[in-house]
Each structure stands twice: as structure tokens, then as C-alpha cells.
Amino acid sequence: MSHGASSGLEGDLKMPLSKAKFAMWLFLATEIMFFAGLLGTYIVLRAGNPGVFGLPYTGWDVMWWLPAINTVVLITSSFTMVKAVSAVQKGSASGVSFFLLATALLGCVFMAIKFYEYGYKFDHGIYPSTNVFYTCYFLTTGLHGLHVAGGIVVIFCLFIKAMLTGYPRNSETVEIIGLYWHFVDLVWIYLFPLVYLL
């Protein structure tokens, strides 16, 4: 039995990344599977129901630009998130606070538009039970929205912490939460054309 350090079976694993970041990537791998189930269901059901999917929907002419704005908002929030990570690396406490707050607020704008969009559909008598498209629509965008809401809470907590303590240069916390936030953005990049445009 080899007990060389390179065996990597016991003791301190020689990891090319920190355990915390590794754990976040592991979580994101399960998240890929989570959304693979949702988006896979959407794609398969869509292929089987051409009469229900891909048609002009009620209020489509008014509503298509709202998710487009939401796409811009979420991409901008990803950009403010990388700026927050850069601010940590530069040791700029005020920069960290500013960009974390900006990211959380952009997330709130996304959620506000989402609520308006849902309300608009409910007002027009569109519910998850309307047809199989809207079942998929509310399921995928709703669960994505919950991910955004969770992200906002965590980022806002980070903002409070940054305000109170600042962040040391070597802190990875912001970067790791950033990975989650970018992933939520990444999912929306697929959801937007798939659910609203095509």
C-alpha cells in the first residue's frame, strides 16, 4: 500500500482549490441536475405538444419586453458581482459594500418585474393549470425565481457583514456566493429564449 502524499486518500488532500469553493461547485453540479430535470421536461413536453407550445400567448405583445429587461438586469447584477469580488481582492471595503448592495438591489428589481409579470398573467386568467405550457412556465420560472430570492437574502447578509467588518483580502466568501449568483444568471440565459422568445 502506498502512503505517498500523492495518493490523496488520507490526511490533507492536495486540492487545487479550497474546500469551501469545492463544496460550492459540488452544489452547483447538483443544481445543474435540478434544472436539467426542469428544462428537460419543458423541452420534451414542448416537442410532444406543438399546438400548445411556441404559439403567441395572451398578452405576448405587451409582455415580451419585461423578461428582456429582466435579462439585462440579471446580467448587470452578475457584472456587479464580479466587481464585488475584484473589490475584495483589492481590499476596498467600500467597493465590496457598494457592489454587493447593487447586486442585491438588481436582484430585487428582477423579482419585482417577475411579480408584475405573474400578476399580469393571473389578471388575464392564466394559471399553471391553464395548459401544459403554463405548468412548465410557472414551474421553471418560479423555481428559478426562488433561487434568485435566496441569492438576494445571502448577498444582502454579505452586504451587512461588509458594512460592519469589511473583508480581508484573502476572503473567499464573496467569490463563492458569486459562483451561485452567476449560476442563477446562467440558468436564466437559457430560460429567457426558451420560455419567452421561441
Binding site: 416537442a47 452578475s78 457584472f79 429567457f192
Partner: protein, 123 residues
């Protein structure tokens, strides 16, 4: 920076270029969806643009390009394969089975109804 790969990060300018590209591609996504390339054509182009955008987010914003080690392949490729397998394994059965499609065909256009009738006749 160059002596320690773990600490290598893209520059602020790179971040901004990615941000600007993502914005541009969002506009392209909306514009292309207005051009009729056929039902399949629009979906293929839309998903291709989305994949380019998603790759930029993953590789630059999430630093995947700069991470060292094979863990990223071991961890991230299998769930992506799962995604493809779910879609490709279930589509022929769920999507093109006449028994599933027939009740909904009543709501579709005449062309689709004709297609379903053909599928039913062939069955």
C-alpha cells in the same frame, strides 16, 4: 500573478468586455427570434447563442477557465451529459407517441392535425 496560477484572475477590462458581449448577444437573441428560420431553426440558433453566453459566464465570471485541475471536468461534465440524455432519451417516446399527442392535437392548427393523422395512419 503569473507565478501563482491559483490567484490568476481576469482583468477588469476582460470582465467589462464579457458584460458588453452578454448585453449585445441579448439584443441579438431578441432580434433573431423575430426572424423566421423555421420552428427548429429558431430554436437551434436561440440555444446556440444562449450556450455562447452561458460559456462566457461560466468561463470568465465563474473563473472556470482559470481554475486548475481535472475536478471541473469530473464534476461538471456528467450532469451536463445527464441533461442531454434526458432530452434525447425521452423525446422519441413522449413527444412522438400518437397516444400522447392525439388529445392535444385537437387544439393545434390544421397542419399539425394533418401531421398527427399521418402519424396515426402510419402506426
Amino acid at each position: 500573478m503569473a507565478h501563482d496560477q491559483d490567484q490568476a484572475h481576469p482583468s477588469e477590462a476582460t470582465y467589462f468586455k464579457v458584460f458588453a458581449s452578454l448585453m449585445m448577444l441579448t439584443v441579438v437573441t431578441v432580434l433573431v427570434s423575430r426572424v423566421h428560420l423555421g420552428a427548429v431553426g429558431n430554436i437551434v440558433v436561440g440555444m446556440a447563442i444562449a450556450t455562447v453566453k452561458a460559456s462566457m459566464v461560466a468561463l470568465i465570471f465563474m473563473h472556470l477557465w482559470y481554475e486548475v485541475g481535472k475536478w471541473k471536468i469530473v464534476m461538471l461534465v456528467p450532469p451536463c451529459i445527464l441533461f442531454a440524455v434526458i432530452v434525447f432519451a425521452l423525446t422519441p417516446d413522449v413527444a412522438y407517441k400518437p397516444t400522447h399527442a392525439a388529445p392535444l392535437a385537437a387544439e393545434s392548427h390544421a397542419a399539425d392535425a394533418g401531421h398527427e393523422a399521418d402519424a396515426g395512419a402510419g402506426h
